[in-house]
């Protein structure tokens, strides 16, 4: 299994940039003005060298300073500096506002799209990777836009302004400076690659450290139960040491490459002083111009020093952007027809499978030619061994996946033509591992029906025969369930998940081993409650406890992807076949 399975179209950096910008139109709002302001802010860097040159050449000419002239120069320069600062402020604010708005839109879009992806696509991805798409990847773009990208423009401008002034003062010396700096310009991408590789390693090892430490937290019970503290501590220590060494290595590379630029700049300064002084002998340059040159060289140092960092950020931002666009490019293969879809009437529901085939991409068929009808108001049990296709059947019935061929219909309409909002209202599935949100019990149950008040929730729990259980909870409905519901026991989590679906009041309720961790008495009580109140409702259950099958109107038996038997429990149990075998082995396990 690869980590990157979301199908990104291959794009060049420029295409990525263009496509990315087009998805967040906010970026471009007022961009020309922002760029003009950036230009003004950059041009401000030339003020000092110009001031030096003017004061030296004109103000101090002839030994006695021309004070009024110097005052005028200094005054104008001060005004220019203040204007530069103002441009800088306006540019920053505009840039932050447009980039943050654009990125907020992108975050929201990607988040929604991830939820729209099919279960199949979602399950191929690690959860953490999907979270990164809407968090750190976008943060990287943001960092680049607000610092790296801006720096790139400003720094580039700075080098251009410096070069232009240098050429005006003396093209020979400008050549000298460029001759000194050029090797650095060529070396920088190589440095950046080293640094990037070193930091990638650091990131990987940081991940290792964190997962090692997380084992000592998440697995705390196992570690203690088996006295494995020593071993766990050693594993964590190894990871921490490896991370520290990689960090030190990366920092050393940065430490050694960083001052190189300044070293090279000092060579340029020395060369300019020597050559400039020689040129001064035959008056081909003025002293002010030469001194201005020395100040201009400093304008080269900062851009080259930050260049590796800027390049790094640019690369990270592009990579992040590519990944985000990759998510948005991934088709929501089980798509909501939205406004084109039909809205179905509520009421007794009939579902039919017509010659349905299903196979996972590149895999063996897991469901073959299934044709079956589920009548309104019936109670259907689905049984079969692990891997027989039961869960696939459930996922097709709830349109978490679409069949490869054939069709699934609800009240005669193809599921693919039904609007999701209508479909999810009518058909609800309770999965085996009922995920709970880190909120109160009431909020979790209300997830099934946002309008429900506390009385309705209490009523639902009472109808399910869970009033006693509710009373035993420390804070009743306000009891916090903890992260993923971990403050409750596994069986209690299933009760909440069931109540949540029950409150949603669908026309068809599908239970996928939804009570596997609940005690038998409660399970039977739940089953009976569901029957009792669901006169108009169709109930489909996948269960490994065949008691469910015994109570059902009809049993569908799957074996190796084929619907091999169907009928009532009483009929099937006396007929030799898959069901009779399954039932016999269950009876020995449960009742011997």
């Amino acid at each position: 299994m690869t980590q990157q399975t979301l199908q990104a179209r291959r794009r060049t950096s420029l295409q990525t940039l263009r496509h990315g910008l087009s998805l967040s139109p906010e970026f471009r709002v007022g961009l020309p003005v922002t760029l003009l302001l950036a230009l003004a802010a950059t041009a401000g860097k030339a003020i000092i060298p110009i001031a030096i040159q003017r004061v030296m050449d004109d103000g101090l000419k002839g030994g006695t300073p021309d004070l009024p002239m110097i005052r005028t120069v200094v005054l104008w320069c001060t005004v220019a500096v203040l204007l530069t600062a103002l441009s800088g402020y306006l540019m920053n604010v505009r840039l932050y506002r447009s980039s943050e708005s654009g990125l907020a839109t992108l975050r929201a879009k990607s988040f929604r799209h991830i939820h729209d992806l099919s279960v199949l696509t979602q399950n191929r991805e690690r959860r953490g990777a999907m979270v990164s798409r809407v968090t750190s990847d976008i943060d990287q773009i943001s960092a680049f836009m607000q610092w790296g990208g801006l720096m790139f423009i400003v720094m580039f401008g700075q080098v251009v302004v410096a070069t232009v002034l240098m050429v005006i003062y003396s093209w020979q010396l400008a050549l000298v400076v460029w001759a000194c700096m050029l090797p650095m310009v060529f070396m920088l991408p190589r440095f950046q690659r080293w640094i990037a590789a070193a930091f990638t390693r650091v990131r990987e090892l940081s991940g290792d450290t964190l997962s090692a430490i997380s084992e000592s937290v998440v697995g705390s019970a196992v570690v203690r139960a088996y006295g494995a503290e020593q071993r766990t501590a050693e594993r964590v220590d190894t990871a921490i040491t490896r991370q520290r060494d990689a960090q030190t290595r990366a920092q050393t590379i940065v430490g050694f490459t960083f001052p190189l630029t300044e070293l090279v700049a000092s060579v340029a300064v020395a060369a300019v002083v020597l050559i400039g002084a020689r040129m001064g002998l035959d008056d081909s340059i003025t002293m002010g111009e030469l001194l201005a040159f020395l100040f201009l060289i400093t304008l080269f140092v900062a851009p080259l020093q930050t260049a590796t960092e800027v390049l790094n950020e640019a690369q990270n931002a592009l990579a992040g952007w590519r990944r985000v666009l990759g998510v948005l490019d991934t088709p929501a293969d089980v798509a909501d027809p939205r406004d084109d879809g039909r809205v179905l009437e509520r009421g007794p529901i009939s579902v039919a499978f017509e010659n349905v085939h299903f196979a996972y991409p590149g895999g063996e068929p897991v469901l073959r030619d299934v044709t079956v009808e589920i009548a309104p108001r019936s109670r259907v049990a689905i049984v079969g061994e692990t891997g027989s296709g039961k869960t696939t059947f459930a996922k097709l019935l709830t349109r978490l996946m679409d069949p490869v061929s054939g069709r699934v219909t609800v009240d005669g309409t193809d599921l693919r033509d039904v609007r999701f909002s209508s479909l999810r209202e009518r058909i609800v599935m309770v999965p085996q591992d009922g995920f709970l949100f880190d909120a109160t019990l009431a909020e979790n149950i209300r997830f099934g029906c946002p309008e429900a008040g506390d009385e309705e929730i209490t009523l639902a729990l009472t109808e399910l025969g869970l009033a006693d259980w509710l009373e035993g909870l420390p804070a009743g409905l306000a009891t916090p369930v903890g992260q993923r519901g971990e403050s409750l026991s596994a069986g209690e989590r299933q009760l909440v998940a069931l109540a949540r679906a029950y409150l949603a009041d669908p026309d068809l309720l599908l239970l996928d081993e939804a009570t596997s961790a609940v005690d038998p008495a409660t399970e039977v009580r739940l089953a009976r409650a569901l029957e009792g109140v669901t006169r108009g409702r169709t109930a489909v259950s996948i269960a490994h406890r065949l008691s469910t099958a015994e109570a059902a109107d009809e049993v569908l038996v799957f074996d190796k992807g084929v619907l091999v038997q169907r009928g009532s429990h009483e009929d099937l149990v006396v007929r030799p076949g898959v069901y009779a075998d399954l039932h016999a082995s269950w009876v020995t396990a449960a009742r011997s």
Partner: protein, 601 residues
């Protein structure tokens, strides 16, 4: 939460830095010395330029002279200073990095050891995510000021050197410097004071955005099956908009102060040019000194900000450090005795008047008493939420009872030496946990075992079949949390982990729930027929499992409602009967309804 650079935060922040200095005195000293070299050499760069102006440039332009000796000396001066400065920078950066990373590694090591040491009850009270963020971001925040710290010290040296230099050159020009640089420092301080709460807020919101995304994607199936994508998208959008506004607020402050901080030294240079010209006309200074001081201002402008960086990191550092320290200072680690157990063969487990609650006043178990005699199998049965899992955790001292005692062969678990309980007893938890390690590593868990023993345990757990089919057999990595295996396979490995130890007491907490009934049956029969024999405690719902037990303890609301042989309980205990015969009664009732229907018909 402390977010402003108040004097209290400063004091505490300096104390945190003090800890680092005391822990790594050599590295810290090295970094500071290197940084001081860098500071002095930065100022010397301007002296070199002044020297160059005086000895090469001015003679050439004003007198048309060019002395090779002076030229060579100038070049040597410029390059020499640059080399020393570069060395200072290398030393400062590399050593500052080492200092920071070593402290991070120390803190992480200490934290993880403490995580391992603190009792499970402490872990119950602290969410996983929080503990992991202590180890990741809080540790990082705590030591973040160490990166710019040596630079800041170097800057102080730099400023002192510069001040001395300018004072010698011209007291009046020095006055300009004494106005500009303190102003720069004050501006920086105001900047950081205004920025830090906003930056902290943005950071918190970033965390919240991530939390919402994480939870929502983890519950993606529930969101989908209940058709709640829109409301989830709305929940996420509210957070991203809050984050956007917080980031824009940060941007506003940055946008204002960054250009100001850049403008101030520039204005300083202009002031130097003007004041310097006046002084030049009074012949108080020379032109090269004017150049030198202007250049110095330009050189100092950027490094001076390092003082602000340290300040900016202090509040976060204090918060991070405090959180880490709270974990390290947490008490209530389990006390261990010195007693040993030297018996062989099945153990005797007795639970005496045990009471336990996760929160005060809410008892999960209340006065539970029973004994599992050596070699016997005891089933614990009870409704959902009756305290069964908690009871199993008390049996191997993952938690200690609030009252009463748990004894192994008569010894109170609390009197036993650390590690003794796990040498004699093994618990297979309801929720399987596998490490990101090989199959062998997961089963041995640090125990030195022969492969034969591992295979024997796998056979007993009915896991030998699928393990031998794995690409690298015992050496196959199972992935994070055993992601590459199915639920039933994970459970069987967890079972083998317990069995390979041949525990004298084996406790199974609903540990075969994901295993097919037939396979479970084979496992349980295998257990019973095992030669060495153990005392076995099983939490179970299935009749097949209960039927293997010699005795049953029936729990209700955390109390032993009845205790005895299955046959006896079924006769006299209504709750028990209702629970274990639920399916049969269900079937019987249905049959009778059907019969009635037939009679009616």
């Amino acid at each position: 939460m402390a977010t402003k650079v108040s004097s209290a935060v400063m004091r505490r922040g300096l104390r945190v830095i003090g800890v680092a200095v005391r822990s790594e005195p050599a590295v810290f000293t090295g970094a500071v010395v290197a940084s001081a070299v860098y500071g002095v050499m930065t100022v010397a760069t301007s002296w070199a330029l002044g020297w160059a102006t005086e000895s090469v440039v001015i003679p050439a332009f004003e007198r048309g002279e060019f002395e090779t000796g002076a030229a060579v000396a100038t070049v040597a001066f410029i390059l020499g200073v640059a080399m020393l400065k570069a060395l200072g920078v290398v030393g400062r950066r590399v050593l500052a990095g080492i200092l920071q990373y070593r402290m991070q590694a120390r803190s992480r090591g200490a934290l993880s050891k403490q995580f391992l040491k603190l009792p499970l009850s402490w872990h119950h009270r602290h969410p996983t995510g929080q503990l992991l963020s202590h180890a990741a971001s809080d540790v990082e925040a705590a030591w973040a000021p160490l990166a710019p710290l040596p630079m800041a010290v170097g800057v102080v040296v730099m400023l002192l050197t510069a001040a001395g230099g300018i004072l010698i050159t011209d007291p009046v020009l020095a006055l300009v410097g004494f106005l500009i640089f303190p102003a720069l420092a004050v501006l920086n301080l105001i900047y950081q004071r205004r920025l830090s709460p906003l930056a902290t807020r943005a950071q918190e919101l970033r965390g919240e955005v991530s939390e919402v995304a994480h939870e929502s994607f983890e519950g993606a199936l529930v969101v989908k099956t209940l058709g709640r994508e829109d409301s989830e998208a709305e929940r996420f959008r509210r957070k991203t908009e809050a984050l956007r506004d917080a980031n824009v607020a940060v941007g506003r402050v940055r946008g204002m102060f960054d250009p100001l901080l850049e403008a101030l030294p520039t204005l300083g240079v202009l002031a130097v040019l003007f004041v310097g010209s006046v002084r030049l006309s009074n012949s108080a200074i020379t032109a090269d000194e004017l150049v030198q001081v202007s250049y110095l201002f330009l050189l100092l402008a950027f490094p001076v900000r390092a003082l602000g960086w340290v300040l900016a990191e202090l509040p976060r550092s204090v918060v991070g450090w405090t959180r880490v320290q709270e974990v390290l200072d947490a008490v209530g680690s389990m006390e261990y005795g010195t007693a040993e157990l030297d018996r062989a063969g099945p153990a005797r487990l007795s639970v005496e008047e045990v009471s336990f609650g996760y929160a005060p006043g809410l008892a999960v178990l209340n006065g539970v008493t029973f004994t599992a005699e050596p070699g016997r199998t005891l089933a614990i049965v009870g409704p959902t939420g009756s305290g069964k899992s908690t009871l199993t955790q008390l049996m191997i001292r993952l938690i200690d009872p609030d009252a009463g005692a748990v004894r192994l062969d008569g010894a109170d678990l609390r009197d036993l030496r650390h590690g003794t309980v796990s040498d004699h007893a093994a618990l297979v938890l309801q929720q399987t946990f596998l490490f990101d390690d090989t199959v062998r590593g997961n089963i041995a868990l640090g125990l030195s075992t022969e492969d034969e023993d591992v295979w024997a345990a796998l056979r007993l757990a009915q896991a030998d079949g699928f393990v031998s089919a794995l690409p690298q057999g015992l050496d196959t990595k199972v992935g994070e949390r055993g992601a590459s295996l199915s639920g039933g396979q994970r459970q069987r490995l967890a079972l083998a982990r317990a069995l390979v130890r041949s525990p004298r007491l084996l406790i199974l907490d609903d540990a075969t729930s994901s295993v097919d009934p037939q396979v479970e049956r084979r496992i349980l029969t295998g257990l019973r027929e095992r030669a060495e024999g153990s005392t076995v405690v099983v939490v179970a719902y299935r009749m097949a499992t209960i039927a293997l037990a010699d005795e049953v303890v029936y729990l209700e609301h955390g109390e032993v409602a009845d205790h005895g042989r299955h046959e006896d309980l079924i006769g006299r205990c209504e709750g028990y009967r209702n629970l274990v015969t639920a399916y049969e009664r269900e079937e019987a009732e249905r049959a009778s309804i059907d019969a009635d229907d037939e009679v009616m018909a």
